[in-house]
Amino acid sequence: MSTKLKHFQTAILSRRRFLETASGAVALTVLSPSGMGQAQTADGTVPFTTETPGVATQRIDGLKKVTGQKVFARDHTFKDMKDWKGKPHYAMYLRALTTEKVFKGIDRRYLPPAAKKARIILGNELNASQRSPQIAIRRDLLVDERIEEEAKDQPKTRGFDRPYAVVFDLIVQPGNVPDFLGQAVALLIFDDLAEYREASRAMAFQDDDFQKYGDAAPPKDPVVFNPKTTYVKYDHGGVSFDYANANPYSYPLEADSYKALIADALDARPDLLRHDFACDMRAMDPMFMEPESGLAWHDVENKTLNLVLGTQSPDGDFSDIVSMYRSSDAPFKLDAVVLTTCYPGGGFGGRDGSPFSLMLALASAFTDGNPVQLMYDRYEQFRVGLKRHATDLTGQVAIAPDMKLQNIEMNMRFDGGGRKNLSPYVASLAALCAGGSYKTPMANIYAEAVHSENISGGSQRGFGGPQAFFAIETALDDVAAGQGWDPVALRRANLIGEGDTTVTGGPVQQELRLREMLDRAEAHPMWADREALRDEYAARGLTYGTGLAMSLQAYGTSGDGMVAAITMDETGKLTVKSDAVDMGNGSATTLGVVIGPILGANAVDVEMGDYTLFADTELTTRDKLGTRWDNPDWTSKGVGSSSACLTGLHQVHVVQQTALALLEGSIMPAARILWGMPDLQSSATAWVDGALVLRDGGADPLPQDVLAGAVFENGLPRGTLGHAYFQAIWAEADYDTPGGQIHLALDGLSFYMPGADKPTRVVRQNAFGPAAWTRRFARYVWAPCVNVVGLTVDRGTGAVQVENVLSVLNAGRVHVPALVSGQSQGGVAMAISYALHEDLPPGMAGPANGTWNLDRYHVARAADVPLNTGFRPDARSQELIILDETPADKGAGRGIAEAVMCSVAPAISNALHDAVGVRYSSLPITPEKILKGLRA
């Protein structure tokens, strides 16, 4: 008990930062719910670690989750918030039913009795800063320069996720036409739980009764969310042009002329096979299991907003919320925000920049200083939660008779829905993925996200990859089938590798091993014996087919900053702190064990979602003089949103480098004192059974607690705080430490000294970091995957059953094998689900009408997925082959959370083509579509 209490109080004291706003500084305090992190058991053991540093025997968050303790935002009730005062209130938003008529208001006569007692707030009762908060420009996006360029063209005041020249209010004002379906039209505040429940029941599916709409409004002009993405690549006849190497300012104009040159080059080659393709896919709901939920309390006396949230982007949500209360017309000013960040009950991108946080904060302004709960049910989650975009893709591949790709042309239109959110950046990454796993001398790719009346799209697992890989991989299979080419041979003839360039013109500077992966897949009995398998199924009266597809999913963004702290207590127990959020992907577990080989023991506690850490680094992203890495205070980016794919390389890197700083800057000096060996180098030592030993013997081992004692006695650092930045390469620098000068792949380092809460910065020296212009490569590191799918088709019902899946994955260093295979298995299931089942119609025929739930949206069940592991011809199975690490990996992992999923769906379509000779290019491939295709 005392351990938990201490942990909680330490968190309160240490996790604090300030956000400068126009109206002064707002302090942010980040708290962990008491259930988070790793509690020790009564006997003092830490169940998630083993004696082996670097090895996890279970998830660090596992014990709390498997016993049903409070770790999610929805688990928290007012009773759990001991310091909160006031009467609990409950918030409910009513949602727009049309974008074609003027909203006139709420007809209270038709509200059920319980709702009549509620306070009803309409859009015209909000002041400007609440109605359309001036949010910060999103921070962790593709190509920052483009965003900066875009910002220059727009008014300085930017409303909440509105496209240029369109204002989207959080709550529609009476007299206006809703901008999209599901936009809030009223806020209802209840001060009685029973009445809230009764009203919720009575009002469900009855919106038509009490929402009033007037005259039809003229249709609005179509709006494209900026920035749009154009990648034109031309490497032909000794002339070279591409996005990465062109002058950023003249690129748009030049690109047009090179498009014409591409057309000329293709026309000059009548021998080229030019294959047109078109495909489309419906929107998809992330369907994380916990509907969004949270608590808020505006503590008027202390000018503090208290929040309980489960979000992937606590930093961005905090900034957006503060923006609501920082302008001159804000209804009140805030001095502080206290944010309790919870483990999200699933994320998949759907909690990255979700408007939920703002809607909760907005409600808190209308409860007269009382706490309020906003909890979506599943209907509302379907109705307003961020979606993966419905997308239309068309294009053409041009291929020479020797199977060599000459050009990839692709046009992609993402339905961004109502709010802009991350849609244009999803489209932008899709443009990069359009090149697939292949090199091509020419490319002409365009991707845009458009505003529509539909539910907003956002950052979903794969971030544009699922759409683009589906297009290119099905197109290549059609080419192979049409030409009688072997589909593996066609792919092998075009594989991209180190030294080649992507469709942006950015170089591939990482070992990919695509050829080896294709070889493994080709030799596997699922592929090699596919005709025999077809015959065996046919003998049982079943139609069987096999399909293969590849993906080259990038991980990270165009530039990633990340931060971590490692602290040691007097007994030598280690705690890791990270700004990242664990959505269930296991990053907390991974970060807890990757320090083991460096520091001799795994962490006993990992604190995630600590957005205060970056402020403690004292680094800034402002660079007025443009001196970049020469300015020791500067970094290119603080921190970004959490993505599962950022763990394997990025977060592990910053944690390990920060651990190295603790070893060299504190533990080694302590060892030198204890052993009386002032010239001792760490290379002469090793960790054995939790104690530091001399490799050549000759001194007593130093256990962790003895070393920690010497650290504290001698005033050596008890912890380290590191910041790292990656953009094709890591930023690096030298740092003076008590153990001498060390070189680290960090751009910021601080020490926690005994007795001090705040860390002390070590000014970096001799810094070297990525050049700004490399951002135009778009991405730098890749997690390749080859998927082979075997499936059966019921020609009578159109039902498809995935029988077998083979995934060949290059994951680099595998930190926690069970987490990697778990991500793979989850990716296979999600891909089967969206390829064959998940179907969200647009408009009021879909979830925007408020009647959608899991009874009509089919998410894959166990029966839809092969559950046996390891290929067995006699049983439905999935096999994951992870390539062995090579020296070129340099011990680094790859972010694979999206990698396996991206090529399953095209492999399914290719398998269907193999089975029945029909190309199904519209996802989901429902039984109706199967039957229609068979009849055609």
Binding site: T41, M289, E290, R378, G584
Partner: protein
């Protein structure tokens, strides 16, 4: 008029006027037992599964707490995930196996899987079941539970292993 039932061994009485309230809301709001998870609210996903025993000699059954009214629970004994272990201590074998096998990820569906699997394993303890019946029984017990993160593979592996342990222990006991 009151409705009486036990939750994790503790007796509770509520006014019959609340007979229409859903069990999950009572657990969350009256008892602050939030281990039982709300997801779809219409009994499809089974994240809210609890165990209900209708009479002293009756077997435990999985019940969808989001769709079960208190009025139907008079005289029953309900076990939620909080009643399966003693906090972090005394884990049920299925909880231990879920941990060891990294069976879950975000963990929101986990209490539902724990409850359904526990009921199955209790059933195996008391009834005669052969190994070749096992897969069908596991499918029946957890096959309709929805999990969005894991792809189900590790959940099924964990339940199968624990179930085989139960059968093996019974065989050993008989032998």
């Amino acid at each position: 008029m009151t409705i009486s039932f036990r939750v994790n061994g503790h007796p509770h009485e509520v006014d019959a006027k609340r007979g229409g309230d859903k069990l999950i809301d009572f657990l969350h709001e009256d008892l602050n037992l939030t281990g039982t998870k709300f997801c779809c609210g219409i009994g499809i996903c089974r994240a809210c599964t609890v165990s209900v025993k209708k009479g002293r000699n009756e077997a435990e059954e999985p019940v969808i707490s989001c769709s079960t009214a208190l009025a139907t629970l008079d005289g029953t004994s309900i076990t939620t995930v909080e009643g399966v272990s003693n906090g972090d201590q005394d884990l049920h074998p299925i909880q231990t196996e879920f941990l060891k096998n990294f069976a879950f990820q975000c963990g929101y569906c986990t209490p539902g899987f724990v409850m359904a699997a526990k009921i199955l394993l209790d059933q195996l303890e008391t009834s005669k079941v052969s190994k070749d019946q096992l897969d069908g029984m596991i499918e029946e017990a957890i096959g309709t539970h929805i999990c969005r993160c894991t792809g189900y593979v590790r959940y099924f592996e964990a339940v199968r292993k624990t179930a085989l342990d139960v059968l093996a222990a019974k065989e050993g006991g008989q032998g």
